[in-house]
């Protein structure tokens, strides 16, 4: 069997259209990979039968040469946060261990319409709450990349299953969702491309909600070119989502024509934080030079409220989550524990259905919205969020793109940072500001550190300017730093 794990979607599409390979061959290859790499625990549910059926349909279409979707015949992984009609959707939680939706999320529906093939549902932090994929009820995911010292590493989170699956060649690409960094951080830890589009670009309909004002679907891919194709297939205006954007959807692959010459790249001094890994700082400096080389102008900018982004995020996201997860009460679907009365039903079901991290955030969220605390926490956080947004708005008057590292550190060993939630939350410190501002941001691998671990660089753009973000990402990708 040919090894398809080294090629990307862009190449596979070429081979498919030249009829050198079939979608069924691709699918069978990845099914084999998934079975062989079970140990990484990337998938919660495999949907091989569905995949083979979809592959057959794609092959028929390719034969006929008509109605071809952008991703016709391309096998992918679907984060288990997207509801899939007739296929178990768990959100990584015991609460939804046996939940089978009877409806399809808009993002997954768009992908299937574009010919993508579903290999399975990828593992994730429970309800997308985590930065290491260690909070999944279905066990943690292993990063396929090993350090020189051969330790088992986390893949990042919450889209850890998606990232590890793509990095280990179990699929061409996978969907992710990003609330505070859940696409970009695992992409960074696994040496991949992770794109969080502008808030509103992808519909949230059918996506299990964590924090509605922040949640945004996006792709995790091997290459920037693939990210453009995936996003093209995922996004749409959706009347089922009132926050979905009606902005014209461009051809994202046009990023290839986007010239960075003369463009201003902003460097926010606030992102060179204390505790930023030295090697990451070094890579960051190298990337600055890459942009200089392609004729961009590098300018220092300031995003003065950056320091407040993480605490702001950890008030707003749990607050919204505390309401979003109230529906898991054992009454209508999902886990239901035996109980004597109503309060008992709520207590036993929620006590046993949610893991510790979810409970922690629900308690925080409930607290910050409570009478007497609302003004001091939630309301203040909303105001700070506005200031953070304004920071970016002001910055984008001076520059076109912002370059930062994606994470303060590289992938860490499983078991680390488990006892101190604050240390875990610090993983998101560089990704959270763009989330709060709803801006498009990409993480692209800028090569490895001395211990063989990938380092990700983040590029943040103006609202709905994914094209320039992709273009800048591709500059880093091509430089082979």
């Amino acid at each position: 069997m040919t090894d398809f794990s080294t090629i990307d979607i862009t190449e596979a599409k070429k081979l498919l259209s030249q009829k050198k390979i079939t979608a069924t061959e691709l699918t069978e290859f990845f099914i084999k990979q998934i079975e062989e790499k079970k140990g990484l625990n990337c998938f919660i549910t495999n949907t091989f039968d569905i995949a083979l059926k979809m592959a057959k349909e794609s092959d028929e279409k390719i034969q006929k040469g008509s109605d071809l979707g952008i991703l016709e015949g391309i096998p992918i992984g679907m984060k288990d946060l997207f509801c899939t009609d007739g296929v178990k959707t768990t959100a990584g939680s015991k609460m939804l261990e046996n939940f089978v939706p009877f409806y399809e999320s808009t993002v997954s529906l768009n992908l299937w319409k574009n010919g993508a093939i579903m290999l399975g549902k990828t593992n994730m932090d429970e309800f997308a709450m985590g930065s290491a994929n260690t909070t999944s009820f279905f066990g943690n995911v292993l990063n396929p990349i090993r350090s020189n010292d051969q330790k088992d590493l986390v893949p990042g989170g919450s889209s850890g299953g998606s990232a590890a699956a793509v990095a280990s060649g179990q699929c061409f690409a996978a969907t992710g969702s990003d609330t505070g960094g859940s696409i970009r951080q695992p992409a960074s830890f696994c040496g991949l491309v992770g794109l969080k589009p502008t808030y509103g670009r992808c519909s949230r309909f059918g996506m299990v909600a964590f924090a509605s004002s922040l949640d945004q679907a996006g792709p995790i891919t091997k290459t920037v070119s693939d990210a453009a194709l995936m996003l093209q297939s995922m996004c749409s205006y959706d009347e089922k989502d009132s926050t979905s954007s009606k902005k014209l959807i461009p051809n994202f692959s046009d990023y290839k024509k986007f010239d960075l010459k003369g463009k201003k790249i902003g460097l926010p001094n606030e992102y060179i934080i204390e505790g930023l890994n030295e090697e990451i700082k070094k890579k960051f400096d190298q990337c600055i030079n890459i942009f200089k080389d392609c004729g961009s102008e590098l300018i220092d900018i300031t995003l003065p409220h950056t320091n407040y982004a993480l605490p702001t995020y950890y008030i707003i996201a749990p607050a919204e989550a505390s309401a979003n997860l109230a529906r898991y009460d054992g009454v209508r679907y999902g886990l239901r524990e035996n109980s004597e009365n109503l309060d008992d039903l709520y207590q036993t079901t929620r006590a046993s259905g949610f893991g510790d991290e979810v409970k922690r955030r629900l308690i925080i969220g409930t607290y910050v919205l409570s009478a007497g605390y609302y003004d001091a926490y939630y309301l203040k956080a909303l105001k700070v969020r506005q200031l953070i947004s304004n920071d970016f708005k002001n910055a984008f008057e001076k520059c076109d793109l912002i370059l930062t590292p994606t994470t303060p550190n590289v992938a860490f060993p499983i078991g680390e940072k488990q006892n101190d939630p604050l240390e875990m939350y610090l993983n998101d410190v560089l990704t959270v500001p763009a989330s709060l501002a709803g801006l498009p941001a990409i993480s692209v691998s800028a090569g490895n550190n001395n211990n063989n671990l990938p380092i990700g660089m983040q590029i943040i753009g103006r609202p709905f300017e994914e094209i320039s973000v992709l273009a800048a990402g591709s500059v880093i990708e091509l430089s082979k730093v």
């Binding site: 299990v208 009347e239 089922k240 919204e320």
Partner: protein, 482 residues
């Protein structure tokens, strides 16, 4: 007449504020396309949002927004160009999302008012706000021995919560306020106002105080679903509060329930047990923006409102304030009146509708709209009175059997043989006979016993079996006895 409660320590004034929940008359729910039809099989009218499925999202129903704006305009209120939907968080089995989408700090409609017609005259009742919110589902406790069953058909239906200022001072005023509000809602069609079906219900805030003193501590009586119950609940609750205060204790702010069987209110939960609803803006819904143009457009589409109609009735039909109020309370009644009053003496029509017809309806406990009585039916009878073919008194006697019959006025009157005789020759013959039979009386009359005139009229009427036109009888009799 002011309303006071006589306590041992003197008079107590009752202070009332109402929160009326009116279900918007709309084919689909506030945030989903599920049907709102009443009486469907349980859980057959439920979309993803209505049962709180993972990943379900609310999408505002523009029609419901329009209804709220129309209602706001018809209670003389400000329409807020920007309003916000909030989540009101609490756990309950018939609340599938674990929160109700409502409006808290920024409602769609701000300050307004409506006028009620009390015995002392018109009174202005302030309205604090109107906001949009989702209804909850229904918990059914009496169908299964061990379990509570949930019906989500009502879950997500659109409600308008209309909050009054504490301007009401008696159970009667509260009743008038609800009636007026209901007639407005029905007139513009934003709510059926059917309290039995629960699409109009009220939370009543009651407190008592000595006249002209500070506001007392209030209790809220939840979910009262008829005007009669609202009055009963207020009467009971106000007396209860007076007794507590006069016995030296304090009113505890709490939520209470009205039990219509025992006609009393009972504590549901105290302030300390009250929910912390943790309201916050719903991130699934952008702020609701309403353009000035939209408001103007809706304003132009408003039908004639009850108060406007009342003013018109007073000037056009020369009605009293009271009659006009009674006739414009209900759209069906006012249309009925106008149909009958067309080219007829409006005073006669009013008295027949608001007195005779209404007492007939009351006696038979039916609404005019539910009865099969048509304007044509009433008009037919009135035309006989107007033309003098039957007397007013005859008509009154015939009224009930006439309404119950399926006959038109002409056929009914013929069948009953009651048509009034106005033929002067025929009446003169009768008079002659009566005068001949009573020579003594005629003599006495001529000698000054004026009162005997009535006797002669009575005799003539008796001779005619009541059919003689009294006016004609009077005229001829006067000539004869002159």
């Amino acid at each position: 007449m002011s309303f006071f409660i006589e306590g041992n320590t003197g008079k107590w004034e009752v202070v009332l504020g109402l929160e009326v929940h009116a279900q918007i008359k709309s084919n689909s729910k506030l945030f989903s396309t599920a049907s709102t039809e009443w009486g469907g099989d349980p859980n057959t009218q439920v979309e993803l949002v209505d049962c709180g499925m993972p990943g379900a999202l609310p999408v505002i129903n523009e029609f419901c927004v329009d209804q709220a704006i129309l209602t706001g305009l018809s209670i003389n209120a400000e329409i807020n160009e920007k309003s916000i939907f909030d989540r009101k968080n609490y756990f309950y089995p018939d609340l599938p999302q674990g929160y109700q989408i409502s409006q808290f700090e920024f409602p769609i409609v701000g300050n307004g008012f409506l006028m009620i017609q009390t015995e002392e005259g018109e009174k202005r009742i302030g309205i604090t706000r109107l906001h949009l919110e989702q209804d909850a589902g229904k918990s059914i406790h009496d169908q299964d021995i061990k379990n509570t069953l949930i019906d989500l058909n009502r879950s997500g239906c659109a409600l308008m919560e209309i909050v009054s200022e504490p301007d009401l001072r008696s159970p009667e005023e509260a009743a008038l306020y609800v009636k007026k509000l209901r007639s407005i809602l029905r007139c513009i069609g934003s709510c059926d106002g059917n309290m039995e079906k629960g699409n109009l219900r009220a939370d009543v805030n009651v407190s008592v105080r000595k006249p002209d003193s500070e506001m007392g501590t209030r209790c809220e009586i939840k979910n009262v679903n008829s005007i009669k119950f609202i009055q009963q609940a207020i009467e009971y609750e106000a007396k209860r509060q007076v007794e507590i205060i006069e016995s030296g204790k304090k009113i505890i702010q709490e939520t209470r329930l009205f039990d219509p069987n025992k006609c009393e209110t009972r504590s549901m939960r105290g302030k300390e047990e009250s929910h912390d609803y943790r309201y916050f803006p719903d991130p699934d819904l952008p702020p609701l923006m309403i353009s000035k143009e939209k408001i103007e457009e809706l304003k132009r589409s408003l039908p004639e409102l009850p108060d406007e109609k009342k003013t018109r009735f007073i000037s056009e039909y020369s009605l009293t304030n009271y009659d006009a109020e009674v006739l414009t309370d209900d759209q069906y009644v006012s249309d009925f009146f106008e149909e009958v009053a067309k080219n007829r003496d409006s005073k006669l029509v009013v008295s027949w509708i608001s007195v005779e017809l209404f007492s007939y309806l009351k006696k038979n406990s039916i609404e005019l709209s539910e009865s099969k009585i048509t304007p044509k039916k009433i008009a037919g009878l009135l035309d006989y009175i107007i033309s003098g073919k039957i007397s007013n008194r005859q008509a009154k006697e015939l009224f009930e059997p006439y309404l119950k019959s399926n006959l038109e006025a002409k056929d009914f009157i013929e069948e009953m043989g009651v048509e009034q005789v106005s033929d002067e020759g025929e009446i003169e013959g009768l008079i002659n006979r009566v005068l001949q039979e009573n020579p003594k009386m005629v003599e006495d009359y001529k000698n000054g016993k004026d009162k005997l005139f009535g006797f002669f009229v009575g005799q003539v009427m008796k001779e005619s079996k009541g059919k003689a036109n009294p006016q004609v009888v009077n005229k001829i009799l006067k000539d004869k006895l002159a």
